[in-house]
Amino acid sequence: MEFGDLALLGFGPEGWGKVLVRAGLMTLAVSVAAFLFGLGLGTLVAWARIGGNAVLRRLAEAYVVVLRGVPDILVIYLFYFGGRQVVTAIGTGLGFEGPFDISGFVAGMLAIGLISAAGQSEVLRGAYQAVPKGMVEAGRVVGMTRLTLFRRVIAPQAMTTALPGMGNQWQSVIKETALVSVTGLVETMRQVSVAAGTTQEHFLFYAAGAAIYLCITTVSDQIFRLAERRSLRGHPQGGM
């Protein structure tokens, strides 16, 4: 049969269904971990670019430029192979023996998180700059402290602008996790490759993998749209 035996996707004894679902969950896990790491780091980088001194600002700018100019797969390799080199050096230095390894999950999360942080910092910076200066002045003029001003005026306003960009960043992270397969971590990409190689039903399993990613990205898209609609309450349709 040309399109592959669909039973292979099922949950029976011949079926790869269960392991595919597990792999999909692993994709989600790496994505969430990387995205959150990127969010934390991205916030710091955005803050450095907005309010830091000249040195910090230059460093943050350089960070963004570098991480956006280098292929993601190289960064992942760097963390994976490089991480192994580092751990090996430390290990042998400390007197331990034997092959040293670094978790594909950790390498992937750090690498993708670092890349995502660069993109997220740009989104956050743009959102901050888009907050109407008048509203910020109105907050300052009633005597708000900088923290209160941020909490009550800047953050809520910036969020509306930031959500679409953050949605894009999240989608990118999901797709980048496929690259972590090169480390051997059993997420969706790796799992479907293994299944395809074993059963020689390449089209079937790559299609299944594509379907898994489409599921995750579609559901994510709906969630972000919902959040965007909610944050727009009070704004006239189509912007201010």
């Binding site: 109407p132 008048g134 509203m135 002045e137 109105a138 907050g139 300052r140 003029v141 009633v142 005597g143 708000m144 402290t145 209160t148 009550r152 005026v153 809520p156 306003q157 509306t160 309450r233 009070g234 704004h235 006239p236 201010m240």
Partner: protein
């Protein structure tokens, strides 16, 4: 006559001495001395670029003057540098708490309802209780004629309505003085009247007001004092009769004849 306004028997509500400000190559304020007692209603008029808005914005330190001192009630600030130090910022915040400021472009927080706009400062800056803040806000919204709009979004209100909300927001701080930066300049002509009516009623209550405006008729009828600014300096400072009917300087005469409806 005055309600919920702190009046001190001693000292002016607000005073400015030796204020200077330069933007780039442009010296916008060249040494301003001005003081306002409680109950003064001062209109500031002058040509575009004369520095009136800059002067007003310097009072709550929205712009940092290059030289001079601003005193609000018991707090005084003479900024030393281009940015405020932490101590100066704390003083500035205290001063701002005693000043209401109404912007030309209203600057309502669009992500909050009308009522939420008015209770924001009382809750988050002055730490009053929610019940107290809401009660007072409701009364203020009634006073400016917008009680039924308390749960509306600013974006759904007309310019005149938004500005009235902005005035209620300023009043909610229980300020010693209220500063108005061209409050009607951004409004369509038919909406100007409703805002001027509210400001007039505040003046009649005996509140201390500082209004930068182009509305000459309003300035003449409502103010207790008129200050004319020209190229960063005070050209005239007197009662409306003195300034409008008998301007002393040629420049004032030129400005007024160009801007005033002669038939009034």
């Amino acid at each position: 006559m005055t309600d919920a306004v702190e009046t001190k028997a001693v000292g002016p509500a607000l005073s400015i001495t030796g204020l200077r400000k330069t933007f780039g190559a442009n010296e916008v304020l060249r040494g301003i001395d001005l003081s306002a007692r409680d109950g003064d209603v001062i209109s500031m008029i002058g040509a575009s670029g004369s520095g009136k808005s800059t002067l007003l914005r310097c009072i709550p330190m929205l712009e940092i003057p290059d030289a001079g001192t601003v005193t609000v009630g018991e707090d005084s600030l003479s900024p030393k540098g281009a940015r405020l130090t932490r101590a100066e910022e704390a003083t500035a915040r205290r001063m701002r708490g005693h000043l209401g400021f109404v912007f030309q472009n209203f600057n309502l927080w669009t992500h909050r309802t009308v009522l939420q706009n008015v209770i924001e400062a009382p809750l988050f800056v002055q730490n009053r209780s929610r019940a107290e803040a809401v009660d007072e806000a409701t009364a203020l919204l009634e006073k400016v004629g917008l009680a039924e709009k308390r749960d509306a979004w600013p974006a759904h209100l007309s310019g005149g309505q938004q500005q009235r909300v902005a005035i209620a927001r300023a009043l909610a701080q229980r300020p010693r003085a209220i500063l108005f930066d061209e409050p009607t300049s951004a409004l369509d002509p038919e909406l100007v009247g409703e805002v001027l009516k509210v400001i007039r009623s505040l003046a009649e209550e005996g509140r201390t007001l500082l209004i930068v405006t182009h509305e000459m008729g309003f300035a003449r009828d409502v103010s207790s004092r008129v200050v004319l600014l020209h190229q960063g300096q005070i050209e005239e400072d007197g009662t409306p009769e003195q300034v409008f009917a008998n301007p002393r300087s040629d420049r004032a005469r030129a400005f007024l004849s160009g801007h005033f409806d002669r038939t009034r």
